[in-house]
């Protein structure tokens, strides 16, 4: 079988010198006046400042494969998709695509707020490469998917942002190319609609079409890509079965990510207690990407400026929507006398179990109060972590259930003894 996508030695270079400012003749004149001095100083800036957004990328995709592309921001994911979508040209290398390509780098490209929903469906469809006939025949399906039947003849400017996104995604989801290129579009809309979109995506892949899917959401990639490519600083760091790539990504999260969880606080926020750091770690390494099946820890470092009687620390975890999941306190399992409240520096480590969180983003609040009296301080949402599912599809289903947590609980089932036996 011949590959449907073949990428060879693909590289893309951006010249930063000429990129941000719009070139105008005035700039050119200014540059001309400046440049002799530049030469004198030995810094030929505008010519030399280039960045390689992609370096020597090679891979092949077979027809019907669903491949995920992961990597942190700036790793080159979007550049790769832009080149494959033919929006921009590679600086070096070549690639071939052996089928009709539909690419979806943004939801609702070309939507115009003055036009009605119906008009925008046709316009957006045409922009994505659908014919008028094709859009016409799928129109009812698109509208039903978006759940905006009632507002079809209302200008989009009166839509809520959620409705606009639903309609835009519905158009895109009904694109039927042989190769579908999708960039992080699932990051929009409410959770329920995201689930619907994911479902539509798996439908597309089950229909045997080739999909290239970029996401920062490893769970989504895990859920329906059998293979993944990890990009790091413009090069392929690893490629292979999604589970292995995802595991590698997490193990190396520290090297790939600079941890953003470690926070230094400004001096003198509280005269009694000063929080100095909050860190999250899993499998012994600092990270803010959490494998949902494994336990992890939150470590709080603080300094008591003086002895504070009856004080207690608490941790509050909220999900993306701001719904609180739970509050925990260092006082819960101890009596207050057991806690050391002398002046000095302290470290508290809170252990959180694996198999509790649903996939998604979470925010933590840390604070301290005096029982029945007052709050000493509370730092809202001072740390953040993402939870992803490392198991296969059957496990991923757990995250779509009703409820704000998805605990893995042991069920013991035995046959009940009949009394008459």
């Amino acid at each position: 079988m011949t590959p449907i996508i073949r990428v060879e030695n693909l590289s893309k270079c951006y010249r930063i010198g000429s990129r941000p400012a719009h070139n105008s003749l005035r700039d050119m004149v200014a540059e001309l006046i400046r440049s002799p001095f530049h030469r004198l100083r030995g810094g030929n800036r505008s010519a030399d400042e280039t960045i390689w957004a992609l370096k020597d990328i090679n891979f092949e995709v077979m027809p019907g494969e669903v491949v995920g592309i992961i990597g942190r921001n700036g790793a080159g994911k979007s550049t790769l998709l832009k080149i494959l979508s033919r929006i921009t040209r590679p600086t070096k290398g070549r690639f071939s695509l052996n089928g009709r390509v539909g690419s979806l780098l943004e939801v609702g490209t070309g939507f115009h707020s003055e036009l009605t929903g119906r008009e925008n469906v046709f316009l957006n469809g045409a922009i994505l490469g659908m014919s008028r006939k094709e859009i016409g025949s799928k129109f009812d399906e698109i509208v039903a998917f978006a759940e905006t039947e009632k507002f079809l003849d209302t200008p989009v400017k009166h839509y809520s942002s959620g409705m606009t996104v639903r309609l835009a995604f519905a158009v895109a989801a009904h694109l039927e190319p042989e190769i579908l290129i999708v960039d992080e579009v699932l990051a929009v809309g409410d959770a329920l609609f995201q689930k619907k979109c994911l479902g539509k995506m798996s439908e597309i892949s089950e229909a045997g079409r080739t999909v290239l899917f970029v996401s920062h959401d490893i769970s989504a990639v895990n859920a329906f890509c059998e293979r993944a490519i990890l990009l790091h600083e413009g090069s392929i760091a690893m490629s292979g079965p999604t589970r292995e790539v995802a595991a590698y990504y997490l193990d190396h999260a520290n090297k790939l990510y600079s941890p953003i969880t470690w926070i230094k606080f400004p001096e003198g926020k509280s005269k009694e207690i000063e929080l100095t750091a909050v860190t999250i770690a899993q499998r012994g390494a600092q990270t803010n990407i959490i494998d949902c099946r494994e336990p992890f820890t939150v470590t709080i470092e603080y300094e008591n400026k003086k002895a504070v009687r009856n004080s207690r620390f608490f941790l509050l975890v909220r999900n993306e929507k701001g719904e609180p999941l739970f509050t925990s306190s260092d006082y819960d399992l101890l009596s207050d006398v057991a806690i050391d409240r002398r002046p000095g520096k302290f470290v508290s480590t809170i252990s959180l179990p694996g198999g509790l969180f649903k996939t998604g983003s979470y925010y933590g609040t840390v604070g301290a109060d005096i029982k029945y009296e007052r709050i000493i301080f509370a730092e809202n949402d001072i740390f953040h972590f993402d939870v992803f599912e490392s198991g296969d599809d059957t496990h991923a289903v757990r995250h779509t259930r009703v409820g704000i947590i998805a605990p893995l609980l042991p069920w013991h089932t035995t046959a009940k003894k009949s009394q008459n036996s």
Partner: protein, 273 residues
């Protein structure tokens, strides 16, 4: 092994106009010009009447200043009619060039997010101008009746000049829109450039007032043949075939060379816009 559908090689310089690909995207051209038309007069009081207001007021002004005050000759045609018949193709051309010249920079989100032949954007801006032209043309009918201008066979020549004006606007529009992506000066130079071009074209005055030895110079402006031809088709004076031939040759040269130039630079639009 079959040849792949799409093969992009950084070392291969794109050549050819890819007309087949352009044909495949013809519906997008329709949708984009339809969008331009739909939103152009949204939230305006006068709506599509603006298409008439612009040439009508220019006609009244020109009639007052040039027809009455300076007594500009008009080849025996009543000056208001003379001016309006010149203003029709001119207004279409000027608006089409202005809109298409600014069209690419106004479509940044499309260019950076979706692939399609970029030439569709300036082309749609030109095509959208045709509707305004048709609306403004309707006003010509009562004017022709009022001044008792009879129908002539030469009217059949009108489409030729409309097509020429469209092609010329497309050629100039492609060139300016591509330049505009890299040099935003175009946006500021455009109105001035259009105004200069108006005075270089026989809109206010007839070509016949230009001394014979300088005629060829005015023919180098392809709008000369188009505007004069437009009037001649309606008022039955004699066609200046030389001017028309100049117009056709220069217009075709401009369209083809702009199209090749556009093709050469369009791949870089997404990176520099």
């Amino acid at each position: 092994m079959d040849d792949p559908l799409i093969l992009i090689d950084a070392d291969e310089i794109e050549s050819g106009l890819h007309l087949r690909e352009l044909w495949a995207y013809r519906e997008l051209l329709f949708f984009l010009s339809w969008r331009d038309i739909k939103i152009r007069y949204k939230q305006t009081l006068l709506g599509a009447a603006w298409a008439i207001v612009q040439p009508l007021f220019a006609m009244l002004l020109f009639t007052l200043v040039f027809g009455k005050l300076t007594r500009m000759p008009s080849d025996g045609i009543p000056y208001p009619l003379f001016a309006y018949a010149g203003l029709l193709p001119w207004t279409f051309f000027a608006n089409a060039v202005t809109n298409s010249g600014n069209s690419l920079v106004g479509s940044t989100s499309l260019i950076t997010k979706v692939f399609f032949p970029r030439v569709i954007i300036p082309a749609a801006a030109v095509a959208a101008g045709l509707l305004d032209f048709v609306i403004a043309f309707l006003l010509l009918i009562p004017l022709l009746i009022y001044y008792r201008i009879p129908l002539r066979w030469s009217l059949l020549m009108l489409p030729l000049f409309i097509i020429l004006a469209t092609l010329l606007a497309l050629g100039v529009g492609m060139l300016l829109s591509a330049l505009n992506v890299k040099y935003r000066d175009v946006r500021y130079a455009l109105p001035f450039f259009i105004q200069m071009w108006l005075f270089a074209s026989p809109v206010i005055y007839p070509s016949s007032i230009i001394p014979q030895q300088w005629r060829w110079l005015s023919m180098l402006n392809p709008m000369t043949g188009i505007i004069e031809g437009f009037r001649t088709s309606m008022f039955g004076t004699t066609f200046d075939w030389m001017a028309i031939l100049f117009s056709i040759v220069i217009t075709l040269f401009l369209v083809v060379s702009s199209a090749y130039l556009f093709r050469r630079v369009e791949d870089s639009f997404a990176d520099i816009i």
